[in-house]
Every structure is written in C-alpha cells, then in structure tokens.
C-alpha cells in the first residue's frame, strides 16, 4: 500500500524538528530513512506509526487519511530496535498477541501463527520464552509479530543495531527476503549506509529534519547532490580535495588532474573535488604525488591513505599484495570521469 506524507511538520516544545517534509513510499517498496542521529528519521517513523502526533501536514495509507487516527487504528507493524518482545509470554503467545487483540478464534490464530513462523523460519522456537532466544531469533519473532496481522506498512527502527556483525549480515538478507515475499510496503530507519544500500529499493537521506536526497542506492552513491551525501555513503569514505580550475585542469598544489568532458563547461574558480577510494591509484596512471601515511590491511584489499604535499589526504583501495610501506612516496592517478566536483559550499556541480 502506498504511503504518502504531505508537508509533515513536527515540533517538540517550540523546537521544530521536521519542517514541511514530503515523502511518498510506493506500494511494495522498501524505503530507507538514512541519516546521522538527530536528523529526524526516528521521529518520522514514530509519527507514521502514530506514537507521535503530527503538528502539521497529512499522512495517507493508500486513499485512507490516517493523520489523526490513533496507533491502534492505523494497521502498522513495527519492529523496535530492542525487539520489545513481551518477556512473560512464550513466542507463540507473543506472535498471537495482535490476533488476540482482534479477538480472532483459536483455530485462525493457530493457523496464522504457524504460517508466519514458517515464513520467518522459527517454527521450532514457538514454545520458548524471549529470554531463551539469541538476538537474531528475537529479531525474527519481532518481525513475525509485526507481520502476523498483515499490516498496511511495516516499520523497522534500527532493527540490526543490537546484533553482532555476522548476524547482522544474515538478518539483512532475511529481512529483505521476508519483505519481498510478503510484498509489504516497508520503511527502514537506520544510520548505517551499508544497511540502507543493501536492503532498500530507495534511500531518503535526511539531515536536520530535511530530506537531502531521495534516490536509488547506486544513483545516490554515484550521483550525490552535495558533499554531505557523498561523504555519508561509501566505506571507506570519499575524500575531498580543494582544487582550482586553471589551464583546463583541476590544480592541486603543483599537480594537475584532467577535467572530464562533462564537467569542463561547468567548473571554474575554486572547487571541492570528491574522489572515492576506488578511483585513485596506480591503475589510473600518474597525477598526484604524496606519501603513504596509513595502511590498513583488510584481507582482500588494502586501504592506503596518501598525504599530499599540501596536507590533504586521499584514500585509495587496492587489491591486496602490493605491500607498500608507510612513508613511501607514490605518484598515482585519478579516474577523472568519476571525480565529483562540488562548489566550495558543498553543492554538486
């Protein structure tokens, strides 16, 4: 079901947290609300499920205006960061609770709980208590409980934050699988760009209560609207260089970097160059001279920091095995087609 937020405004004690936010999540789509802490993503989520009241604007599920409905009447499933399972009930009762509230008959409840347990792969855990489950299993139960009454929208509030690294990887694909299998419209709130990029159809990147950019993950990665977006996505992160446009080149100190044909007519004067680690290295010829100031071995790849004479740092990610030493001087090139240019204020050129 399509979800539509229209000029949504939220204030806490005279402090406007979110001002006139518009967001449309298409039916069956999984949307990420991504951003640093305090950007308003959780506030938006809690408003959609009805825990917070809206101070302005409207919220529609499909054609239904739910702006002023209490949580109980919105038909939204929520998975909380700490799962919020009911500790005094076993798993079966936990999942059945939303159905018990609806006063369904026992046979229907048993059938539905069985089906949903099958879907999230926990049929053998139904008689246990929440305290006896691992984090990943509790996560599955929370998902099952949120989905069992077939909500219009599924909201996930940092669902992977409490899991260890390996489980996080597993649950990432599991949540996506379950979302695709049920075809439910979902919103994922996270501050982890990897989660957002790997799980979602589209990402809304938020900052200070505004959506800075809303697009598909690869587009957001390759075509960021400003330095904030460029810096938020990508691991290891993008590096920024101050450069001057002169002689048809980006001048950085004594060195020059070619300007791509697409950028050529648009840039002049001072610019910030954004260069992702995968587009800086010896495979792109020569261009910038610097000293290796940091080496991080990651197994398959090595990450190098190269400090330029003017003090700027560029990151480069290379296949493992080069064995460059700290302090070595290198002269590496940049894939100029992939260099991103920004104004000194940070807007994309």
């Amino acid at each position: 079901m399509q979800l539509r937020l229209n000029s949504f405004t939220k204030t806490f004690d005279n402090l406007t947290v979110i001002d006139e936010l518009n967001l449309t999540v298409e039916s069956g789509e999984m949307m990420a609300l991504l951003g640093p802490s305090g950007c308003g993503k959780s506030t938006t989520l809690f408003t959609i499920c009805g825990i917070h009241r809206m101070n302005g604007g409207t919220l529609h599920f499909g054609d239904r205006d739910v702006s002023n409905l209490p949580s109980q009447k919105r038909n939204v499933g929520v998975v909380f960061q700490n799962y919020a399972l009911y500790p005094h009930m076993n798993i079966r009762e936990n999942i059945a609770f939303p159905l018990r509230v609806q006063k369904l008959d026992n046979a229907t409840i048993t059938r539905k709980v069985g089906e949903i347990a099958e879907l999230v792969h926990i049929p053998e855990l139904l008689d246990r208590r929440p305290a006896q489950l691992s984090g990943g299993q509790q996560q599955r139960v929370a998902l099952a409980r949120a989905l069992v009454r077939q909500p219009d929208v599924l909201l996930l509030d940092e669902p992977l934050a409490n899991l260890d690294a390996k489980l996080r990887l597993e649950m990432r694909s599991e949540i996506r699988r379950i979302q695709l299998e049920t075809g439910i419209t979902a919103i994922l709130v996270t501050h982890d760009q990897v989660e957002a990029m790997s799980m979602c159809d589209r990402i809304a990147l938020m900052k200070d209560g505004k959506i800075i950019q809303l697009s598909e993950p690869d587009q957001m990665y390759n075509d960021p609207v400003d330095t904030f977006v460029a810096g938020f996505l990508g691991n290891p992160p993008i590096s920024f260089l101050d450069a001057t446009v002169a002689d048809g080149q980006f001048r950085v100190g004594d060195s020059g970097i070619a300007i791509s044909d697409a950028l050529q007519p648009k840039v002049h004067g001072q610019v910030q160059l954004g260069i992702r680690p995968e587009y800086f290295g010896p495979q792109f010829g020569i261009g910038l001279t610097g000293k290796i100031s940091f080496v991080e071995t990651q197994g398959r790849e090595d990450l190098y920091n190269v400090t330029l004479p003017n003090g700027s740092i560029l990151r480069s990610i290379q296949p493992a095995g080069r064995r460059l030493k700290l302090g070595e001087t290198v002269n590496w090139g940049i894939a100029s087609d992939h260099a991103l240019a920004f104004t000194p204020e940070g807007t994309r050129i």
């Binding site: 009805g50 825990i51 919020a84 009911y86 500790p87 609770f97 939303p98 305290a131 949120a146 009454r149």
Partner: protein
Amino acid sequence: MTSNFRSLPVIALLTILSLPLVVMYAFTLVDSITDAEPGSLIPSEFTFHHWRFLWDDTTGRGSVWIATINTFIFAGSTAAIVCATSLTSAYALSRLNFPARRFFLAGVIILHAFPTITLIIAIFLILQFLGLFDTLIGVIMVKAALELPFGIWVMKGFYDTVPWEIEMAGVQDGASRFMVWRKLVLPQVQPGLSALLIFSFLSGWSEFILPLVLAPGSDAQVLSTYLAYFLLDDSLEVDFNLFKSVGLFYALPVILIYLAFQKKLMNIYGGGSKG
C-alpha cells in the same frame, strides 16, 4: 561453598551478638507453656493455663478471636487498598504526562516523611466529625492513606524498569492503553505487587498507635491493642506469662508469612524483572 575468609569467627561473633534476642524469644516460648517458682528462671511445671485466653474470655476484653478477625480485616483491607491505589497511581506517575506530575511526586515523598504521630490529633478530629471514630473502617482508611506514599514509590520504581517499547509495541499491535497495562505491563511488575501486598499486610498487622487512639473500644480492637491492654490496664492482675502467650499468638502469622514469602519480600528493593 568457598569463601575468601574463615567463616567460623564470623559465626561466633554473630552468635554472641544475637544471643540475648534468642534467649528472650526462647523464654517467651518456654514461659508461655510453663510455670516457674517466683524468682527462678527454671520452669517447674508444664501448663496450658497461660493460653486460656484462646477459649476463655477471662480478661474482660472480649474474645481474642474477634480481635484476630478484626486484625485480619484491618491488615487485609489496608493491603488491598494500598495495592489497588499504588498500582494505578504509580503507573500514572511513571508513564503518563499530566499537569503537576512533579508536584505530585514531591508531595508523595513529603507525605511519606511525615511522622504519623504528628497528625494524630487532626485525624482524630476528622474521624470524629465523619462519625468514623472507634470504627474499623476509620482506622483502615487512615492506615491505608499513611501507607500509600511508600506503596506508590515502590510501584513507581517497578514501573520505571519496564521498557516503554513494550507498551508501544502493544499499542501498535492494536491493544488499548488499558489492555496494554493489564496484559503487558502488569505481569512485569507482579513481583513488586506481591511484595507490596505482603509488606503492607504486615505493616497493618503490627500497627498499634492508630487503633489504640482511633478505635479504643473493644468492638473494633485489633490484636496489638488487645495485647497492650494486659499491660495498660491497672485493674488487671499482671500475668506476664499470659502476656507472652498472647504475644506469641500475635506474632505467629507474621512468622508464617515471612517463612512463606521471604523470597518475594526480598524483591521489593530489587526492582522489577528484566526482559
């Protein structure tokens, strides 16, 4: 069990320190079923004479059984009122955002700090005005009111440990606020509730001043005033062994309750269950 210090000296010290108490309790028990020569500690004959108050109203204070029933009603109603009120008001103080919430919290603490005895004359006058003087209902209301601040604070502590996400999840699952409280929150504060129930029952059971002042007649008397009568009334011939027997009888339910529920009583300062 392993320990990092030798336990024998500690046990010896504790034994010596608690010996006077043990001796007193032991003699209470022994004296209640024996007689001794005047001036002697050693019992000389075995008798149930001191327990005659159980079947024989020789004291002129009415039947001990009436007093016992009264005490049960008094302690039980006090506990019930305290629990029911604490349960709901503590939830409101812990969870709901209502006007003057901080004022109520501070007010409850101040009430708790007030010594009962300073209020006794005012309460006396109010009860007299309401026509509840010398009735069990009057004392129950006063006792419950004075116990409430403690109960509210204990229950608020338990409610505070329940994660708010559990309530939010319940609301999202479609349950009303009342149902969330009843089905999801209450089970989590249940250890606190049972502890408070026992605690306030025992507090009512041992209350002395309020019944003494506010219900002095023999119709509404409870065991504590019944017992005190043996000491306070000059017209009676003082029988210390009878007094000890009544005391034992009075303490028996308390001992039984402590034995049965000591684990739950420990909970009251432990604060709730962790999910």
